[in-house]
């Protein structure tokens, strides 16, 4: 059976996937970048939450001071917020860098140009704006 790696800061995506996406998937979950990297090799596809609002700062991927300096004129608080708001894409970037090219679906209402940019950067990526099981399965089928 295909294995779906769910990547989120809570448990709602995993609960949803176990109810509505299994089958066709066998579901496993990660809540931080290092957990995702450890599980990625065995996964067929990724289902990703973009925003990690509930994550502790020490559990986030990315260096807040580097981000503050490069993106926010040194504003550390703003950088810390950005790391939470974009954590899903940062984790996907890390997975791609590690050689994991599996299809990835975000459950997030991205504007079309953002989806296009994510595809340009990370290949097989789609976005579904809500917890719509049928749409998510169709997105994975389209990326296969």
């Amino acid at each position: 059976m295909a294995r779906l790696l769910v990547i989120e800061d809570g448990h709602e995506y995993e609960e949803f996937a176990r109810l509505f996406l299994a089958p066709p998937f066998d579901v496993v979950a990660a809540h931080r970048a290092d957990e995702a990297e450890a599980l990625a090799a065995e996964a067929t596809a990724f289902l990703i939450d973009l925003r990690f609002e509930r994550a502790a700062p020490e559990d986030l991927l990315g260096d807040v001071n580097s981000v503050a300096a490069s993106r926010f004129g040194g504003e550390v608080e703003r950088a810390a917020r950005w790391l939470k708001e974009q954590q899903g894409t940062l984790i996907l970037a890390a997975l791609r860098e590690a050689g994991h090219a599996q299809p990835a679906v975000f459950v997030h209402d991205f504007p079309p140009r953002r989806v296009a940019n994510l595809r340009r950067l990370y290949g097989a990526v789609a976005a579904v704006p809500s917890f719509d099981a049928r749409a998510i399965l169709k997105a994975f089928e389209a990326l296969a």
Binding site: E12, E15, F16, L19, F20, L50, R51, E53, R54, R81, E85, V107, H108, D109, P111, P129, S130, F131, D132, A133, R134
Partner: protein, 111 residues
């Protein structure tokens, strides 16, 4: 936090999750019994999804729409927890409308 960021967070933390189960129940159809506990969780038991605090200071017609629908959800809570079919159907409809309203607000604030 800018208004755009606030609206985006509201759409994510409240709108998306309140409709998680409701989105997957056919419109107007009874909520299957195994899904009821998760529907209750989505509607009434999400810590950190406090609409009042997340929407504080954010003025937009769709925030008012979401607030009104959440008020109606509160009134339905006992009936939904008991699994009363009509209440659950109405609650699912409200959840979808809340999601849509907050998504519209986030889109409007982003442009």
């Amino acid at each position: 936090m800018s208004r755009a960021e606030q609206a985006a967070r509201l759409a994510h933390d409240v709108g998306k999750y309140v409709a998680r189960i409701a989105r997957n129940v056919p419109a107007g159809a009874p909520v299957p019994a195994p899904l009821l506990p998760l529907l209750v969780k989505d509607l009434y038991e999400r810590p950190g999804a406090d609409f009042a605090s997340l929407s504080a200071g954010l003025e937009h017609p769709d925030v008012a729409v979401a607030r009104a629908h959440l008020g109606r959800l509160d009134a339905l809570e006992s009936a939904v927890r008991e699994g009363q079919p009509d209440a659950c159907v109405e609650a699912c409809g409200l959840a979808l409308q809340i999601e849509a309203a907050l998504a519209r607000c986030a889109e409007a604030m982003a442009t």
